[in-house]
Amino acid sequence: MSSSQHYDVAIIGAGPAGLAAAATAAERGARVVCIDANDQPGGQFWRHRPEDTHPEDDGSLHHDWKTYLRLRAGFDAAAAVGSLCFYPGRQVWMAQREDNGFTLRTTASAQAGRAAPGPQTVRATQLVVCAGGYDRQLPVPGWDLPGVMAAGGIQAFIKANGMLPGKRFVVAGTGPFLLPVAANIAEAGGAVAAVCESADLTGWFPHLATAARVPAKALEGTEYAKSFLKHRIPYRTRTVVTEVLGSDRVQAVRTAKVDSHGRTVQGSERLIEDVDAVGFGWGFTAQMELPVALGAETRVDDDGSLVGVVDSQQHSSVPGLYLAGEVSGVGGAALAVVEGVIAGRAAAASTAAQSSAAESSAADVRLARKAGTYRAFARAMHLAHPVPAGWQDWLRPETTVCRCEEVTAGDIAAAKEHLCATDARTMKSMTRTGMGWCQGKVCGFAVSCLAGTEGASAESLRSVAKRPVSVPVTLSELLTLEDEQVLETTTDH
């Protein structure tokens, strides 16, 4: 029995980039399959209440909901006429490149409740990875206490459930993303004790429009400024959370000021009490395991994240593999949509014989210009919101770094000093960092920094992103695996 299906274009992810890529490719005549871990399209950015129980989301918690509705209409229209096949609730756990395309192995995101059905094997001539990203984390004493979440996790909780995971919040880290998280909390009825932004944004935050030259983004900034005023949210720049306090859950946080070199200032500590939820986000980490497994060339971006190298068509170094959204550079939803459109057009064009060159070139120029503007904005954001240089100072020997395997900062320092573990791969061998359930997705950046001498090296970040099994899969699923299409011949070298 064969459970495999063949398509022109496979899209991994149905967030801003994936929706745009899928709708665009399908519109241009390609047979498209789209796979997403969640139960419905939207990704993290446009995550919303379940459509069966809440069919009429007004988009009040979302930015640019109109764009979502437009993309979703195209996506649904393509699905309705059969040119797009959507498999929600499933994840690709392994991707392989073969002579004439890609083989993707999928598994259900959940084995309980409404475990999503779908094909075990999907084949496609072209592949667009729009896997998105997640909050980058830095360890801090107490960050493993219940009540501490990724900033994006708090937002996802609110958007998906219409409820709050706490009552009184502190949101901390760096980057413009802290603003919508805090605004969402306030709008959902929660109290925000403080937003702690490590960067120094003096004279910058109020002038987002001129700094960015991106009208939509500027508008977004103004909206948050209004929301902050309305809900009296204290926004503290050059401030970091150096410790989370509590016995079996969060009760308080300790903050400190950082100087212009990103070092904490002695004597600037303050205690914020009666806090039951903390959200951390230090920029984003792109989900790079599939591009890395497929052999795509990577680079370290301005924000220190490992991302894929792409050309003007979002084409990676691997023939037929396109990367759009955060996996080609963290830049937010607006950029992701443009990149998704570009990738969807290119992927469809390379499967179809015909292409309307004249129409394409004008549109290409327009899309490229738009993407360029958004990328310039993203770069400005990355440079304005660096990870503070002194973050390692707030670690204690007993601070957990790898949450899964409970490896402490002291374990890591000892392996570095005594066992020559000076890159993330060797650190993993010696201490088990990144060997647990999440396979280093959460601690990978921090471990790369801690093992290295000058921040996280490209080699360390790439080794951390090497996850041949990108989500756990049962042995029973391996039993029914179909062979690759082209079997490697076994030869003796």
Binding site: L419, T426, M435, L475, T491, D492
Partner: protein
């Protein structure tokens, strides 16, 4: 010129680190060169086995017994550093034919002093309650043990350094220094290193280094995959493998061979092996290998069906055509020594190899004859070789 030493060890895997450590105990000055970081080759892509059970009587079994003694006696006080676990091994036979050959193996091993005990199915189920009901019989080897191999390599290296050994990571050997046909050191990315002896402990890459000295050491990669499950409470208490595994270890087939090797670890994950393929250094994920390993493992332990794997990794065993390691002085290239080609037994054999090499390097008669492992068994110089480098210091 970097400082000269009595012994220059190339490769900081478990074998190189063991040589370095024991050479310092012999009072030799030691330098270790490594092209990457400690344990970055096969030592970090294996299971950490110390097995007597899969060895047939012969020189490798003798070396195994010797090495086990080194792990358990010489290094007893350091056992916790590398999570030494005398967990014991169990070979399970699920077919009448394999049970018969298993019984023959255990009888032969016993006559060579191996503690090999036949188990009834009842006894087997007492030791491994989750074993498949299909098991017909088994053999139990209380001496089989395991270490965390990366820690073993890195800690042995640390101990060698504590005894004065120098370590140069990220240093790649480009050629040999030579004086009147004798190897006198190496050229590297970090300059020249002079030494009284150069020990090639580069494992699966040993042939390339030997070739730089014109010596034929036909070590080839034999790929193996290992799957790692989610952490679980203890479900498998020994290293458990199928009788067919012994045949595969001894086989020279290039094609995919797979037989189940399943064991729990102190961290809670279960390691599932094994596959053997000669595909060069191809790291492409092999679906047939993963599927075969899953089939075999779930046959041995049906509960594994619902267990998830979190990752898998592959390593390249240093394989010699006659399945014996290459250990000792290379008469074809005086001054060059070898310690490689241990195939899948490198962790277990490492410390024995290291101690014997150190004794020989110090000019002593080694505790165990290295004659069966002599490098020159592969014949003379490679024809037309001109690769011995002139001294350029």
């Amino acid at each position: 010129m970097n400082p000269a030493s009595d012994v220059l060890v190339v490769g900081a895997g478990v074998v190189g680190s063991a040589i370095a450590y024991f050479a310092t105990l012999e009072g030799l000055s030691v330098t270790v060169l490594e092209r990457g970081l400690p344990a970055s080759g096969t030592s970090s892509a294996c299971e950490g086995n110390i097995l007597v059970s899969d060895k047939e009587p012969g020189p490798e079994l003798e070396l195994t017994k010797y090495s086990l003694g080194v792990w358990k006696q010489d290094l007893a006080e350091h056992a916790d550093l590398w999570e030494f676990e005398g967990k014991g091994g169990i070979i399970v036979a699920s077919r009448e034919s394999s049970l018969a050959s298993l019984n023959r193996l255990t009888a032969a091993q016993r006559s060579y002093g191996v503690d090999a005990r036949e188990l009834s199915t009842h006894q087997l189920r007492d030791l491994e309650p989750n074993i498949s009901p299909g098991a017909l019989g088994a053999a139990y080897y209380p001496e089989d043990s395991q270490v965390q191999p990366m820690l073993a390599a890195a800690q042995l290296l640390r101990m060698a350094r504590a005894n004065g050994a120098r370590f140069f990571p990220n240093t790649k050997v480009a050629g040999f220094l030579n004086d009147g046909g004798k190897v006198t050191g190496v050229r590297t990315s970090a300059g020249n290193f002079a030494a009284g002896a150069v020990a090639n402990a580069t494992g699966t890459w040993a042939a390339d280094l030997a070739a730089l000295a014109g010596a034929n050491v036909p070590v080839k990669p034999r790929r193996g995959f290992v799957m790692v499950t989610e952490p679980l409470p203890p479900m498998i208490h020994h290293k458990v493998y199928a009788a067919e595994y012994v045949d595969n270890v001894g086989s020279s087939d290039a094609g995919l061979q797979s037989s189940p090797v399943v064991e729990g670890t102190p961290a809670g994950s279960i390691l599932i092996g094994s596959s053997r393929e000669r595909v060069g250094f191809d790291g492409t994920v092999s679906v047939p290998a993963l599927r075969a390993m899953a089939e075999n493992a779930t046959e041995l332990f049906p509960f594994l069906n619902k267990v998830k794997i979190l990752r898998h990794y592959h390593g390249f065993r240093p394989y010699c055509p006659d399945h014996l390691p290459v250990i000792g002085h290379d008469e074809r290239a005086p001054g060059l020594w070898h310690a490689s080609g241990h195939e899948g037994a490198g962790i277990g054999l490492s410390v024995g190899t290291g101690k014997l090499m150190a004794q020989a390097l110090a000019g002593k008669e080694p505790d165990l004859s290295l004659a069966p492992f002599a490098p020159h068994r592969f014949g003379g110089f490679q024809s037309g070789s001109t690769t011995i480098q002139e001294a350029c210091a």
